[in-house]
């Protein structure tokens, strides 16, 4: 008899928990952090962007890790690096800064699950097309 009472209570709690789960908890899947590398060429006065999916509301880090001439030699030219949401024919930035390449993240942003983008653009400092590599770490 006592066991039946406990069972009845368990059914109630389990059903209640199921309800709460459906109405208040977002359905996030567990996603391990991944690093995507966006490599390309930035032309004078140009801009290029890259879209990616964030699965978990963890920080997104963006590192402009390499900026080189076509010969492969590194340069310390500053370019614009931005983080945002794809909109229209571009990436609409919520965070942007002018930076040279480095091995520490230049942009660190907490993002809820969704589609985001990183954009690199010339601020007028380029005298020739440059190759770039941007590391994007996200969950």
């Amino acid at each position: 008899m006592k066991r039946l009472a406990v069972f009845g209570l368990f059914v109630c709690v389990a059903a209640g928990a199921g309800c709460q789960s459906e109405t208040t908890q977002p359905d996030y899947s567990i996603v391990s952090p991944v690093t995507e590398t966006f490599q390309g060429t930035l032309n004078q006065q140009g801009a290029v962007f890259y879209s990616f999916i964030v699965g978990n509301p963890d920080p997104v880090s963006v590192t402009l890790a390499s900026l080189t001439k076509s010969s492969g030699t590194a340069v310390t030219t500053s370019v614009r690096l931005g983080f945002g949401i794809p909109a229209g024919e571009t990436c609409s930035t919520t965070t942007a800064l002018t930076t040279a390449s480095g091995l520490q993240a230049q942009v660190l942003q907490v993002a809820s699950p969704g589609v985001y983008c990183v954009i690199i653009s010339d601020t007028g400092a380029l005298t020739e097309p440059l190759n770039f590599a941007i590391k994007i770490k996200h969950s």
Binding site: T37, S66, S71, T73, L103, Q104, A133
Partner: protein, 146 residues
């Protein structure tokens, strides 16, 4: 089985599961590190990279910073004191050419060094012939990383 015996068996199983994890913690985290005779287990870690550079060739090596800190790569030797080579620090190239540079020099000689703050992650050094070599040389690079 007595309660005490069950407890001992359970303890043994847990210990067996935990032992390999503890062993992992003691060792360096990359396979590259296992071949380096100078790798200590504390940060910063010093690694060596020595090999031959052929005329028109290049050689690269990746390394892993296990935490944020400062990375320094130094071209310790490259042929003679006046031999100039290309040398740089960067990140592995996903398009397959080995290593794309964050800092580099096309006229590096023995003693050329680059130091940068880094996040935890995988980085690389590359040494290459910029067209100055007339014969194969031997070079040595030291990598100090977190």
């Amino acid at each position: 089985m007595s309660r005490l015996r069950r407890l001992l068996v359970s303890g043994g199983v847990i210990a067996a599961l935990l032992l390999p994890v503890a062993a992992c913690d003691n060792g360096p985290s990359t396979t590259d590190d296992t071949t380096s005779p100078t790798t200590p287990t504390t940060s910063p870690v010093t690694e060596s990279f020595s090999t031959q550079l052929f005329v028109g060739g290049s050689a690269s090596r990746s390394f892993t910073a296990v935490k944020a800190g400062t990375a320094t790569v130094t071209l310790v030797s490259a042929g003679t004191a006046t031999t100039k080579v290309g040398f740089g620090l960067g990140v592995p190239d996903v398009l397959g050419s080995g290593c794309v540079f964050t800092r580099s020099s096309e006229a590096a000689t023995a003693g050329t060094s680059f130091t940068l703050p880094v996040d935890a992650g995988t980085y690389c050094v590359r040494v290459y012939d910029v067209g100055a070599l007339t014969s194969t040389i031997t070079f040595s690079v030291t990598i100090i990383r977190p």
